[in-house]
Symmetry: C2
Subunit: 397 residues, 2 copies
């Protein structure tokens, strides 16, 4: 037997979304006529904004000419995009230098890869429920023991449930790294300025690092909620922020994201080294498309799409609430986090919803033990499908 990484065998079942796809495909094989409505994976459905398409096409055309061709770009991203992103932070009072921005092919990669910069014995905290990538990538890296049910030995889980208003408490034990996500996937909750400040102060006092996932910041409606952790004093020394064009601009199939690592962070130079050694930059046409997100037309088109999805979220939340279901989130983020009827086990509810309503959602248990009894419905769907799905869901509740 070759010398394999032993940690992979600790991983539980499939990664959540492939497992959902597997169950859905199996159902469709048995019921070929079934008309499935997907509100599970959180994938956007509206076309790519025209400003983005135009910019990408122009860039492809450039690449076909001797004058316009570009080979390897800077690993960290082109200046034109890093500057556009920095300007965006400045609009909200966060001073970020373009050199602190590392453009990538998406936040899944970034949130998955960043843990490489920590020691093998770093103590990791995650909220529970949590985006599985944070957990699984630390399991693969050997920072956990075996799984005990859905929890891994050695990880610190911070429950975020209806009981604590979806606001995780500070860890009671020594922790080196904490992953925070606001607006939250999957709960849809947002962190207030005061809550973020508490975390930043805690990190500064404990030599800890906050990995802040702001992939959904564009969906925030409440003007008091910070879009970036760098709006909080002291964050530059202790935090790193992940952002994505996926949901903001419909880039799930185009692939672009970025990490902000301030120069004050010990991880700035390390991430730069990692980026230059293991990554070779994002496709030039994609970077031009991302730049166009910040143009006046791009902004308008992206915001129209976000408004559309947030109206979906409102419909889901209010319809469910009207049916007596406890539905959280959906006000500053695109996910509604509902409590299952009678706190039914969430994979049960998944299977029942699939079979009886032909609607695909995401079982809360897939996000961690504290997600049990919850179910995530995504606002990323066509209006008509949301309305039809809600009609069907009514029958199952």
């Amino acid at each position: 037997m070759p010398c394999v990484n032993p940690n992979y065998s600790k991983l539980q079942a499939g990664y959540l979304f492939p497992e959902i796809a597997r169950r859905t495909a199996a159902f469709l094989k048995e019921n070929p006529g079934a008309e499935i409505i997907r509100m599970g994976i959180g994938d956007v459905v509206l076309p790519l904004p025209q400003a983005v398409c135009e910019a990408m096409k122009k860039a492809v055309e450039e690449m076909g000419t001797p004058e316009g061709f570009r080979g390897y770009g800077p690993e960290q991203g082109y200046g034109f995009l890093r500057e556009a992103i920095a300007a965006e932070f400045a609009l909200r009072g966060a001073e970020i230098d373009p050199s602190e921005i590392f453009v990538s092919d998406g936040s899944k990669c970034d949130t998955g890869n960043f843990q490489e910069l920590f020691g093998a014995d770093a103590k990791i905290a995650v909220t529970d429920p949590v985006y599985p990538v944070y957990v699984d990538t630390n399991v693969m890296a050997g920072r956990t023991g075996e799984a005990n049910g859905v929890a891994y030995e050695g990880l610190v889980y911070l429950p975020t449930t209806a009981e604590n208003g979806f606001a995780p408490e500070l860890p009671k034990e020594r922790v080196d790294v904490v992953y925070l996500c606001s607006p939250n996937n999957p709960t849809g909750a947002v962190m207030t300025r005061a809550q973020l400040k508490t975390w930043v102060d805690w990190a500064a006092e404990n030599d800890a690092t906050i990995l802040f996932d702001a992939a959904y910041e564009a969906f925030i409606r409440d003007p008091e909620i910070p879009h970036s952790i760098f709006e909080i004093e002291g964050a530059r020394k202790v935090a790193v922020e992940f952002r994505s064009f996926s949901k903001h601009a419909g880039f799930t199939g185009v692939r672009c994201g970025y990490v902000v690592v301030p120069k004050e962070s010990p991880f700035h130079a390390m991430w730069n080294r990692r980026h230059c050694t293991k990554f070779n930059g994002v496709s030039y046409p994609v970077q031009r498309g991302a730049e166009a997100v910040f143009s006046p037309e791009g902004r308008r088109q992206c915001m129209a799409n976000i408004d559309y999805y947030m109206e979906n979220a409102r419909l889901v939340r209010e319809t469910l609430s009207g049916l007596g279901v406890k539905a959280h989130g959906g006000e500053n983020g695109p996910y509604v986090w509902m409590e299952t009827p009678g706190r039914e086990p969430s994979w049960n509810f998944f299977d029942r919803l699939l079979r009886e309503a032909n609607v695909v959602g995401t079982p809360g248990a897939g996000f961690g033990a504290c997600g049990e009894g919850y179910f995530r419905l995504s606002a990323f769907a066509l209006r008509e499908n949301v309305e039809r799905a809600l009609e069907r869901v009514k029958r199952v509740l």
Copy 2:
């Protein structure tokens, strides 16, 4: 101090290419009028083939329509591309199933990431000289001790020099993983069928894994030289192959590559898990561009570019040979590996060539201790620049 990965501090200086860029930029700052000719980094210069541009533009247009929009694709790549790639292998008698192909954003990422599947104590062998990514990524992962000069403790280096005809010998000690690259970067040497067979048999006998980097296979001219390790009997059990569209089709700025992991390999399921957990698929328009590489026009256009570069390689090799310089490679790969005058230290020769001839090449020492006294010249340049560079190089030799 936060809990950082201690292995990063073992890394020597900058990664090779950023260091070249740094020295070049410093020279240009001092000599703003200097007209530099770059034959260093091995970046393509000819425009993207028109068939690729057309396919990408069409895909971007699709993405702008409700019917044609695509969000998340399969992490492993779309079926249309995996099938086109599998058909390409079949042309040379290598049976590869589409499900064994994992599409990625480039070979630098793939060759850098694949080591994650091995145990922390896996013994790694590399040829010397070698593409630095293989080494640096294992250093980052903690599989080496400190650097001793340019060599890391714990790594097994296999000298490949003019003295052994650039054919590395089998390791004398226990090794779990060996990285092989043919056509070789940087030496330009290729491995024969018999040599590859020896390595495959050795791997089978020793429970070892061959990571075979075939990024330059499209440049092979000799019909007897294998393009894939999977043309060799027994390879499916012990080898993994990396391929790229970067040099083959001018994709250095477009970003697409792939890994072939046969089902017989214990790493097939693991790589699939890694790919699904840490990666989210390649940009859809990029995958359509890659598919077009295999269309009749795409093939013709790519081959015309490869012919152009290989004529450059011939010019470099023959001009240098005519000047009494020992110039290796350049016959089945795009790199000429010259011996420096009097085996002058290669960074010296780099600086001298930069200052006196305003030509940028790659110092052999950047690829390992056995690269000292060598210098890599890339065939990826415009003909006119190759001719001018050779005129200037004459003056320095």
